[in-house]
Subunit: 211 residues, 2 copies
DNA sequence: AGCTGTGAATGACTTCACAGCA
DNA sequence: TGCTGTGAAGTCATTCACAGCT
C-alpha cells in the first residue's frame, strides 16, 4: 500500500508531540484519507488497535516500521550531482525516515570532488565500489534523460534492485527490479489538467503523487 | 487521466525523431502501459486514429495539448529557494512541457537577491505582486514542513488554485483548490517496501508515482 | 459510549476480445 | 491484413454499515 508511508510520517509527528494514542478517524484526517481505509490498511498486517480507544502511537509506529522494512537504515546512492541530485543529497530529512545517502556520483569533472553535506561527489566509475561497500539496494537516477537508461543499467549491473527515477523517461529494466518515476513536469501537467476542468465547477481536488 | 502527460512526453520525442505515425502498441511500449489502455485513453477525447495505420504523431500531440490545457504556457511561482526550490527553478525542461517559472520567493535574507537561471529570488512579500502580474494559477511549495501550510495559505489567498507540494505535510486547503504531493522519502519507502516483499520472489515491479 | 475489525456493496480502473474500417 | 474503437468481463480499491470488544 502506498499510504503506509504517510501514516508513518504522521505518526512520527504524533509521537514527537507525545500523543499516546490515536483513533482511525484522527489518523485519517491527518493523512488526508478515509477512516475506514485507515482501519483496513492497518488490519492488513494484524490488528493492533484497541476498541473504544484507538491505536497506540508508539506500537503502531513499530509495526509500521517493520512492515515497511524500516527496521534499519537503507543505504542509497544518487547518480547525478546536478541541481536535483545535489538537492536530494543535501536533504537531511531522509535519515529519520529510514534512508541514508551513502554516495553521489557524476561524470562531470567540474562536479567530482565537490562536497555535498557530509559527502563528496565521486566519479561514476566508483559506483560499483560504493554499492558493494555499503550494500546499496536503492539507487536514485537524477541525470539528464539521455543518460538515464545508462545510469539504470549500471545500477542494475552492480546489483541495485530498486530505482527512483527523476529523469523524464521510461526506464527499461529486467524483471524483478523495481522502478518508481517522479517527473516534475508530469505533476504540473496533471494539476493543469484539473485546473482546466475546474473552470466553472468547484469540487474539492486533493490527491497525491502516490504520496 | 494521469497517463496523458506520459503520452505527451513520448510523443514529443517521436515528433523530434520525425516519426509521422505511431500505433497504440508502440505508444504503449514506450509509455510502459497496455495497448488497449492507450486506445481507451485516447478515445476519451474523440478518436483520432486511422485503422490499419495508427495515430498521426503531430495531430495527436495537438489534441493532447488541447486536452491537457497546454495550448499556452502556464506561469508558475516557486515558494522556497532552498536546494530543492533552486533545483526546480533552474530546471530548463519545463518550458517545452508547457510551464514557465515566473518567480521564486523566500524569506531568508541570504537567499533573496540570488540569481537562479534568468530569475532573481524575491522576498516572500512580493508573492502577491508576482502572482497578480503574471496571472499565476500554479504554485510550488518547496519550504520546510513547518512553513508549508503558511506558504499554501498565502498562495491560496492571492488566487492560486493548484499547488504542487514538496513538503512532507498534508496541506489543508479550501475546496476547489487542487493539491498534489511529492514526498521523496515516501517514494523511497514504497521502493523499500517492495524490496522487502521481493526477497525470494521475482515478479516485475514497474510503477509510477502517479506518473 | 466509543471505536475497531470486516463482510458486503459499490465504484473505478484494466484487460480481453472482437467487430469494423482502411 | 493491420490496427482502431468499444462493449463486456474481470480485477482491484474504496466506501458503507454494522457487529462486537473494552
Amino acid at each position: 500500500m502506498a499510504r503506509l508511508p504517510i501514516y508513518h510520517r504522521v505518526l512520527l509527528e504524533l509521537e514527537a508531540e507525545g500523543r499516546p494514542t490515536v483513533s482511525s478517524e484522527q489518523l485519517a484526517e491527518l493523512a488526508g484519507v478515509n477512516a475506514a481505509m485507515v482501519r483496513k490498511d492497518l488490519s492488513l498486517f494484524g490488528s493492533y488497535g484497541t476498541r473504544g480507544v484507538g491505536y497506540g502511537v508508539t506500537q503502531l509506529l513499530v509495526d509500521l516500521r517493520r512492515e515497511l522494512g524500516l527496521t534499519s537504515s537503507w543505504p542509497c546512492v544518487i547518480v547525478g550531482a546536478g541541481n536535483l541530485g545535489s538537492a536530494l543529497a543535501a536533504f537531511g530529512g531522509f535519515r529519520e525516515r529510514g534512508f541514508e545517502v551513502v554516495g553521489v556520483v557524476d561524470v562531470d569533472p567540474d562536479r567530482i570532488g565537490r562536497p555535498i553535506a557530509s559527502l563528496t561527489v565521486a566519479h561514476q566509475n566508483e559506483l560499483e565500489r560504493i554499492v558493494a561497500d555499503h550494500g546499496v539496494l536503492i539507487g536514485v537516477v537524477a541525470v539528464p534523460p539521455a543518460a538515464a537508461q545508462d545510469a539504470a543499467n549500471r545500477l542494475v549491473a552492480c546489483g541495485v534492485r530498486s530505482i527512483l527515477n527523476f529523469a523524464p523517461t521510461v526506464l527499461d529494466v529486467p524483471d524483478g527490479v523495481g522502478v518508481r518515476n517522479v517527473d516534475l513536469a508530469v505533476e504540473l501537467q496533471i494539476l493543469a489538467f484539473h485546473e482546466g476542468r475546474r473552470s466553472g465547477t468547484d469540487e474539492p481536488v486533493e490527491e497525491s503523487a502516490s504520496a
